[in-house]
Subunit: 343 residues, 2 copies
């Protein structure tokens, strides 16, 4: 028979059922299952066994109602591809200790009114906190200061310095990329990157230029090649670069997409990578970077880490220890074959 079997969480077996089955009151049953001290060991055992036999699963909703904590957080994103939100979600799941906290994922699709809508819904569900993940790494409008729950902005910082924002360290990433190329022995380093309206493009470029300047170097071609975040621009810029500056020996691309375009043209021109020209990307977008020819050295955005920190800060804020300002999360160098020490 199935009735007492361990299998089926039958529809709605409640604490009352468990209590009755164990021959105690609901109060005692509750205390027994929650490890409260004031219950005899033998009684507790009986209750626990009853719960198992009935495959009791406590109704979190009722618990939330009374404890005033839902054990949920909202993850509000506008990231159509899920490229940023999923790693961040995974980091957050980790940090929240699985099973303790569940997360509502809402995609606002870059639409302010849809975002407002989702926000209302989440608040009405009494989430304990909110993580807001932007679509692009530039400041975004704050949700406001008067929300009843703590918020942390991840990837795209809030425009209100009073909020807490977590961003990847683009300046540091730019430095790191150039530093790696320098360590490998390259000196004539160009930087081809994306849309100059993006803070990320500016920051990565700044980091790169700073590190070059420390060695008394200028970028190959004289300045940074801003353009678009696409392979096509990577190809076009590389062609111009090779013409203007044929002795370039390394290219730092502002994204892996751009890097793919760069590699493509180098390959077309029969220029060996990395022995003649080294290439480094940015983002560690696996499908692009790992499949490249040769596999692409790049800067990993460390998004799980970012998600983990977001969850930690949110937990702290929920305990009453809020923080504010912009915190930058370090990035990581992923070495593959498109850069290598010059002999």
């Amino acid at each position: 028979m199935e009735a007492t079997g361990g299998g089926a969480p039958n529809r709605s077996v409640t604490l009352r059922d468990v209590a009755r089955f164990a021959g105690v009151s609901v109060a005692t049953a509750s205390k027994a299952l929650n490890g409260q001290p004031q219950v005899r060991a033998e009684t507790r055992a009986r209750v626990i066994q009853a719960a198992e036999q009935l495959s009791f699963s406590p109704n979190t909703i009722a618990q939330s109602l009374i404890t005033q904590r839902s054990g949920t957080v909202g993850l509000l994103t506008s990231d159509l591809e899920g490229r940023f939100s999923i790693p961040i979600l995974m980091g957050a799941e980790d940090a929240f200790g699985a099973g303790q906290t569940s997360v509502f994922l809402c995609d606002a699709r870059d639409d302010a009114i849809r975002e407002k809508h989702h926000l209302r819904a989440l608040l009405s569900r009494r989430v304990d906190g909110l993580i807001v993940v932007g679509a692009r790494p530039d400041t975004r409008p704050s949700l406001g200061r008067d929300l009843p729950v703590p918020v942390v902005y991840a990837y795209a910082p809030s425009d209100d310095p009073q909020d807490l924002s977590l961003v990847t360290d683009n300046v540091g990433g730019g430095r790191m990329a150039v530093d790696h190329l320098l360590r490998c022995g390259f000196r004539r380093i160009a930087h081809i990157t994306g849309d100059p309206d993006y803070g990320a493009a500016q920051d990565r470029a700044r980091g790169a230029l700073e590190r070059l300047a420390e060695q008394g170097l200028e970028p190959a071609g004289g300045e940074v090649w801003f353009g678009m975040w696409s392979e096509a621009w990577g190809r076009g810029a590389t062609r111009m670069l090779l013409e203007r500056c044929p002795d370039v020996d390394a290219i730092f691309a502002g994204s892996d997409e751009i890097a793919r375009g760069v590699l493509d043209v180098l390959h077309e021109e029969r220029i060996e990578v990395p022995s003649r020209v080294a290439v480094i990307g940015f983002d560690n977008w696996k499908v692009l970077a790992a499949n490249a020819r040769p596999p692409l050295t790049t800067i990993d955005l460390n998004l799980e880490q970012l998600g983990r920190i977001a969850a930690q800060r949110l937990s702290a804020a929920m305990e009453g220890n809020p923080s504010s300002g912009v915190e930058t999360v370090p990035v990581r160098l992923i070495t593959r074959e498109s850069t290598a020490p010059l002999r």
Copy 2:
């Protein structure tokens, strides 16, 4: 003053507060706000205004407790990249009518015990239904028949035919790809695809071969080129193909990644696409397909649609109209420049 301002959803203003403020009982307030008929228009207006002034937001948790419906569903995925789950999530959000239903996204990371863990948590949160998104389009173990809520399997079908599974129409997609090439006038068509252990690879190939056979054709090279889901395999296979069968005039790649490898070699060999050889991919993975040179015609998996249908079927099941078996969702041809009518 902020007190009567519309802005801040102040901590926990309850229906009692609204009722008191409007000078009615909680019962009446509830009915007024929910559009129940047995309340005078004037009274209703007073309550609504009170609610607005206090910026009342009903506590969904309390509502759920009494209505026995949480208005939430769980989306259980193992899709590390979010490539499948996010579109499916978006489709589901659409179909559920925004704000009515919220979704918990849980990433099991292909780990059975983590999945079990998430499942317990979701059931304990009393989700109204479950969508299970697999990592790869092959059958996966069923969650079991004795769950207290309806389940629909999306992308990866369940191994229990009693369950309802929604899968993309890989056979139809294979047919569609070849059909498109035929319409464009190509006749010597090769098929390079991924790991033969994947049902998706087999199905796409089957569709392709069927359509070819209808024209009395065989695939160029005699058979399907199975291998791996990577650009590298796409490159290798293309080289072999060109050697063995230099008069090939079209290549159907089993994925966009493979297609990129194919294009790469054709380009290297200075073979014009599409005038000499046409290429079609599969997946419509934007970053790969749209950035390709030339932009890649491909088969779109139609995942939002799949998510929408999943949500509809789930809703139906929640209303007491379950279905079962495997339902295939049609795919879509996305025409770009890598195929074009001959001449």
